[in-house]
């Protein structure tokens, strides 16, 4: 009973938050709605007994990814209204519905084929975090290490791409110096 109430409550909240994130014209509203939606999604993981995944969802998505977006948005002009693509609405709606039905078919295929057995069954008497640790560090050790290397590569790429001219401090420079720097930038780009 409580599971049903929690499911419907969080389903409603998640759908409304993501709807706001997709339709609003203010970048800041979209960011806030998306962060709220991420937190509500972690509730589903807790309902489903995937405690570790729920915690990771809150830490990684609501913590790291949203903070990264917030920092990234400092570089852009967020007060400006976002212009939307002027496309054919019927085509967009039709494509979305077709894709959604396709996803249902793909995801629902294992239910139709009912001869599925668990490859890594849940161990009795162990908590979720313990189970995840046991499977992750035995069967999925190589993908885990590859993911670690990929995160390192992404970190270095982020530093290299966004960290240009980080040795200059715009707040400590005088106005004339900043103007001179901008002029030089324009010459380089032209």
């Amino acid at each position: 009973m409580f599971e049903a109430i929690a499911f419907y409550l969080f389903a409603f909240l998640t759908i409304s938050m993501f709807y706001i994130a997709v339709t609003t014209t203010q970048a800041l509203y979209a960011l806030s709605a998306l962060a709220a939606g991420m937190i509500f999604i972690s509730a589903f993981f807790f309902i489903l007994g995937a405690d570790f995944l729920g915690a990771v969802q809150i830490v990684v998505y609501s913590g790291a990814v949203m903070a990264l977006y917030a920092f990234g948005m400092m570089f852009f002009d967020t007060t400006r209204e976002i212009k939307e693509k002027q496309g054919n609405k019927a085509i967009i709606l039709g494509l979305s519905i077709i894709s959604a039905i396709l996803v249902v078919v793909i995801v629902g295929a294992p239910i139709i084929g009912n001869n599925i057995t668990a490859a890594y069954p849940v161990t009795e008497g162990a908590g979720n975090v313990q189970e995840v640790g046991m499977v992750l560090f035995t069967k999925y050790l190589v993908p885990f290490e590859v993911a670690a290397v990929m995160l390192l590569v992404a970190m270095i790429a982020g530093i290299v791409l966004a960290g240009k001219k980080m040795d200059l401090s715009l707040t400590l420079m005088s106005e004339a110096e900043i103007m001179m720097m901008k002029e030089e930038d324009k010459k380089v780009h032209l």
Binding site: M1, E3, A4, A11, T14, I15, F18, Y19, A21, V22, A27, A30, L31, L34, M38, I41, F44, F45, L48, G49, A50, L53, Q57, V60, Y61, G72, F75, F76, I82, K83, E84, K85, G87, S96, I97, S99, A100, V104, V107, G108, P110, I111, A118, A119, Y120, V122, V132, V135, L136, K139, Y140, A147, M150, L151, A154, M155, G158, L161, A162, K164
Partner: protein, 101 residues
């Protein structure tokens, strides 16, 4: 009233459709990234739900790796976005047509 696997699959389908609508109607690249996050999260819920209802941990493992990939995607994507914004002073998709044939 029992919540079954189909409830979760319908919910993830709705969320996935919302994300797809976002990908198709947004012109701002940052908003496009937000829609991509919605898509990834919808798939994560369905992974966790199938993992729960079949008593198999593989789904949770896949969701875990999807989160790792999403985090690295954001790091690289935002870096590229900042470089593009420094150069052209906007992040609209329509202006990124230099490779058009």
């Amino acid at each position: 009233m029992e919540i079954g696997l189909n409830h979760y699959l319908v919910l993830t389908t709705i969320l996935f459709a919302i994300g797809l609508v976002g990908v198709m109607r947004r012109k701002n690249l940052l908003m496009l990234f937000f829609a991509t996050e919605i898509l990834l999260n919808a798939v994560n819920i369905s992974f966790a739900a199938i993992s729960h209802y079949y008593g198999d941990l593989t789904g949770q493992m896949f969701a875990f790796f999807v989160i790792a990939i999403a985090a690295s995607e954001v790091a690289v994507g935002l870096g590229l976005l900042i470089v593009w914004h420094k150069k052209h002073n906007n992040i609209d998709l329509d202006n990124m047509s230099t490779m058009r044939g």
